[in-house]
Symmetry: none
Subunit: 191 residues, 4 copies
């Protein structure tokens, strides 16, 4: 019970941290604000996490894990071109459904550059791996295998880039045009 409670508390702090970072950025995300957002006493934060940095790491790691566990609606063997194309709108949709996580994820990406390069690399590598795995599921022929790697890079770059534009404008129309263009680019790249 106590063990569980601690786990639950950790999770609550992580969620609160995401919300606060999404609102104020990393530089404005103080322990006080996070504790308040979590509805927990300030000292509890350091009871659950060694430091604020550790909390941010945990959040970033969780976001990486979440991305890995995300379910993609991909028809197996549909071909890498269609698979890659299908990934873009699905990712962007997830960003829209979880705007706090999307925003915080970007903030933490840059934060990790300055505070934990290994984690930063882990994050991008994890994302790349997710792309690869998903693409592999769609592979329809042996010669398509060679396309998995560059497509993974492309899909990640495109979705990151489009996320930036989305976070800036929050403009659905603009986003959809970008998504359509990205899909077409990926399709013809792979054909």
């Amino acid at each position: 019970m106590a063990r569980l409670s601690a786990k639950v508390r950790r999770e609550e702090f992580i969620i609160a941290a995401a919300r606060v970072i999404a609102t104020t950025g990393v530089s404005g995300a103080t322990t006080r604000k996070i504790a308040a957002e979590a509805g927990a006493p300030l000292a509890a934060l350091h009871y659950c996490f060694e430091s604020k940095e550790a909390l941010f790491q945990a959040l970033y790691e969780e976001q990486i894990k979440t991305m890995g566990e995300s379910t993609w609606t991909i028809k197996p063997g549909i071909g890498v071109a269609e698979t890659a194309a299908a990934m873009v709108p699905q990712l962007m949709e997830w960003y829209e459904q979880e705007p706090d996580y999307a925003q915080a994820s970007g903030d933490l990406m840059f934060w990790s550059h300055h505070n934990d390069r290994a984690l930063a690399e882990l994050g991008v590598n994890a994302a790349l791996e997710v792309m690869r795995e998903t693409l592999r599921k769609g592979v329809s022929g042996p010669e398509e295998r060679k396309l998995v790697e560059p497509l993974a890079t492309l899909v990640l770059a495109l979705t990151d880039g489009l996320l930036l534009q989305w976070l800036t404008f929050k403009d659905t129309q603009l986003r959809d045009k970008g998504v359509a263009a990205a899909m077409r680019a990926l399709r013809c790249f792979a054909n």
Copy 2:
């Protein structure tokens, strides 16, 4: 310290701010660190800028301006496909030559999301406009005009996304593969 024109001083603070942000991130970029990096007394910072925030804005605005003034080696009338393709390596090269500005620019992009949304939009809009203008120079036929807009979005998204990967790994080989893939994607998108 010798008497300097306010303009020179401002510029020095801006350069120092870029370096400090590139090293520590926005959250670690304190006025004292920036002043030390600039070799100036702390009070001088507030003599030149109303606030730390104003300094960051000035830096971000300058980066936007710099991007607009960057010279592209584009052969006029070469066609939008080739133009778009040519832009990717040129931008990435600039990022490599100015790593501090590249890193700080990313940090400030997210910082502006939380502190000055108008500036954030200005930044992305400026970048998009640069892409459009450059693409227009390469337009070879009237039917290519329609491609300028989606290509601008794509080039920006791709280069932003590749910058993220580059900032994370600083791996030249990886970057070149990404650049090659992006170029191919853009070429076949436009043909």
Copy 3:
């Protein structure tokens, strides 16, 4: 520093603030000086009070309360004339016994004019009410009731005015002459 109840700590800061204000005036009463005077770390001040202003308010409010709780040696039914006359030396004596509070009280009176007018009015109203109440205790006949209000004003004005002179010269002889004159004026005013 040992663990202290928040109440005790607050009180210590208030006393320290009174001493510092009495010495340096409000404009010289910095948080650092007050904390040093209280023998407490600077951060503790802001743990107990929201701001320096809040500490000053608390001090001023306490002084108002203290004044209300002060015990007057008044024989009931002695008549308003004698009561009013008796109040002057008693108040001046208290000022002499608590010179820091007397001085700080004057400083804060003017400080409150500029920072919290409501508090300033509260202070004077509280003082007036104390005068009224005390005078009422001395009332010996129904026709004296009408004298309570003007006497309250007069006693307060006279004691404030004499306090100013006392704070300036700290001259006991001078003060006693002033007190004697004030007593005579009040006596014959009421007869």
Copy 4:
């Protein structure tokens, strides 16, 4: 011309200081605010005055001088009682006509306690002397001479005290009642 200009400038700074002190109190009266209020460059203040303190002293001295030069409408030989009584409303009227000077004067009185005791004493002594002189003009018989000293003390104390109440409430009715009471007290004191 230049000499005159310097003199004029000094005067302008003094007037500006009075206004700023009246508005913000001594603690909020910064050199910048005063210079701005005077419409003069900041450095000019230190060109005219050795320090901010010197400016405040000059202001306080001028206020003392002004008080000495104030013209009283006193009928000679009317008797000390009537003279004293007549002084109260005249002073209060002057306070109403020059609210900034009245407020600043009070602030500076307490400021001088902490920064220049000699000046503080000078101020009160000057005020007392003004009271004495004016009272002497009204003396109607030799036996009234003895009343000049205590009356001077009383008039000053009463007007200071009433000023405090006036500055706090800015309530004309209340002030007039206080003035009436003070006049009656002075009259019967001297008869």
